[in-house]
């Protein structure tokens, strides 16, 4: 039961990372060229912008727009998508790949909007930086009113010459791996057809649109 509690405590931080569900890129890019200080500064600055938007008094729709804009600046969304698609990247046709990227961007935007209200009053502090594989992971403590503080790691890599977030790690669980497993399960459950994933993504977008 103890383990279950721990597992679930990992999940407890998920709403925050839901902000990032889909924000995950892969270790697709060259070796870690970022210094710890650059990664830390980048996460501090990006985090302040994020917190500023979430806690602002602007209407929710405006906040959602601003957040989407910020996410496109600080996260390598295309690379995230390719990582999440994993080995099916080579199976998908160019048209399927293009459609996947479009749907992935859209779902990411929805997931961010979904989280805004839950994170009103959020704050964070940077704990330290450690290299992990080819990324630099900046560890932060994220505090939201009414919730226990959550340890969240932000994996940063250099993409197209600038630092970008490539993964979010909560209590040892990587969001890019979780999403890849989620998507792969849909594909393998339908005989390895990438089209099944696209259908499921479209269905989810339609469900959200309808709600």
């Amino acid at each position: 039961m103890i383990s279950r509690r721990f597992t679930l405590s990992a999940l407890a931080a998920a709403p925050l990372t839901g902000l990032m569900t889909g924000l995950m890129t892969g270790p697709v890019l060259a070796q870690a060229t970022l210094s710890a200080a650059t990664a830390k500064d980048f996460v501090e600055q990006s985090g302040q912008k994020l917190v500023g938007i979430v806690n602002s008094q602007a209407p929710e729709a405006k906040k959602a727009d601003e957040l989407r804009g910020l996410v496109n600046q600080i996260v390598a969304v295309d690379q995230v998508g390719d990582y999440v698609l994993g080995r099916y990247l080579h199976i998908a046709t160019p048209a399927q790949h293009q459609e996947f990227q479009k749907l992935f961007h859209k779902l990411l935007a929805y997931n961010i909007t979904y989280q805004i209200r839950a994170y009103q009053g959020v704050s964070f502090s940077v704990d330290g930086v450690a290299p992990q594989g080819q990324d630099m992971v900046v560890n932060t403590v994220v505090t939201t009113p009414g919730h226990a503080p959550a340890d969240v790691g932000w994996a940063v890599d250099e993409v197209n010459g600038k630092p970008q977030i490539v993964d979010v790690i909560v209590a040892g669980t990587s969001l890019r791996i979780t999403t890849r497993n989620d998507y792969a399960s849909v594909i393998t459950g339908h005989g390895g057809q990438v089209s099944a994933l696209l259908t499921a993504m479209k269905a989810q977008i339609a469900r959200i649109d309808a709600s």
């Binding site: 103890i2 383990s3 279950r4 999940l11 209590a171 989620d182």
Partner: protein, 253 residues
């Protein structure tokens, strides 16, 4: 056919069909997934989901409505303290004396100064909560996780981790005390309270996963496995060959 028989029949029949070995990538992915009972596991996932929707979740929502975050934290501390002896035993079995010492000090401090574990003064005194269980002990002994299991009521587990359930139960202080009706009732009440409190803390995350995941079953499976691997790593990282803070420093003459 009665429900248990039906479930048994389903579990016997519910094996996933592996892809042919000639399809290397698919076969490799199947092996890595290590969920040969997936069809049965998914049946139990749906059963638990239904139970949760109509029982646990509404109860947890009601509980959340009538309690404050502070009360829920005290309940969490209290039930966590009851699990401390089990952690002590597991850390000893794992050969992690430092963590075992921490678990012992936490239990002694929190059960007394912490008024039966309702408060957690030990954390403030430098003995933060640690986590382990018998599944992790087996992992540290070198056992691989084995196939994934999704259990009725208990949820995500595996062939190795499933042994935590009976062992944790045996290691609670209630089992060690002489049997009595009052103690049995306390045990049920404590378990019930722990589950409701835990579910209340999970209301948002579980909703969020169900709302955003394309396949929540696969998402919970992935999170469970990553979390277990991370806990094993954490136990090893903490295992430093230095005396813990509570160990008396050798005197120098």
């Amino acid at each position: 056919m009665s429900a248990p028989v039906l479930l048994l029949a389903t579990s016997l029949a519910g094996c996933a069909t592996p892809p042919p070995k000639s399809d290397t990538a698919d076969y490799q992915a199947y092996k890595e997934l290590n969920d040969p009972l997936e069809p049965t596991n998914r049946v139990f996932y749906r059963v638990n989901n239904t139970l949760d929707t109509y029982a646990m979740k509404p109860v947890a929502q009601g509980y959340e409505a009538v309690t404050t975050p502070a009360i829920r934290q005290h309940v969490s501390d209290f039930t966590s303290n009851i699990g401390e002896p089990a952690r002590l035993v597991n850390f000893m079995l794992e050969g992690k004396p430092r963590d075992a010492g921490t678990a012992l000090v936490r239990f002694l401090l929190n059960s007394t100064i912490g008024i039966g574990g309702i408060f957690d003064p030990a954390a403030a005194l430098g003995y933060p909560q640690t986590n382990t269980d018998f599944g992790l002990t087996l992992a540290i002994w070198g056992l691989p996780p084995g196939p994934y299991l999704y259990l009725p009521v208990f949820g995500p587990s595996g062939l190795r981790d499933v042994w935590s359930i009976p062992v944790e139960w045996l290691a609670t202080p209630m089992t060690a005390a002489p049997a009595s009706t009052a103690l049995t009732d306390f045990g049920y009440a404590e378990t019930g309270l722990r589950l409701v409190n835990l579910r209340a803390r999970m209301l948002e995350p579980i909703e969020q996963i169900k709302a955003t995941a394309l396949d929540p079953y696969a998402t919970f499976r992935s999170l469970y496995r990553q979390s277990r691997a991370s806990q094993i790593k954490l136990i090893d990282q903490r295992d430093k060959p230095t005396p813990p803070d509570w160990y008396p420093a050798p005197s120098h003459h």
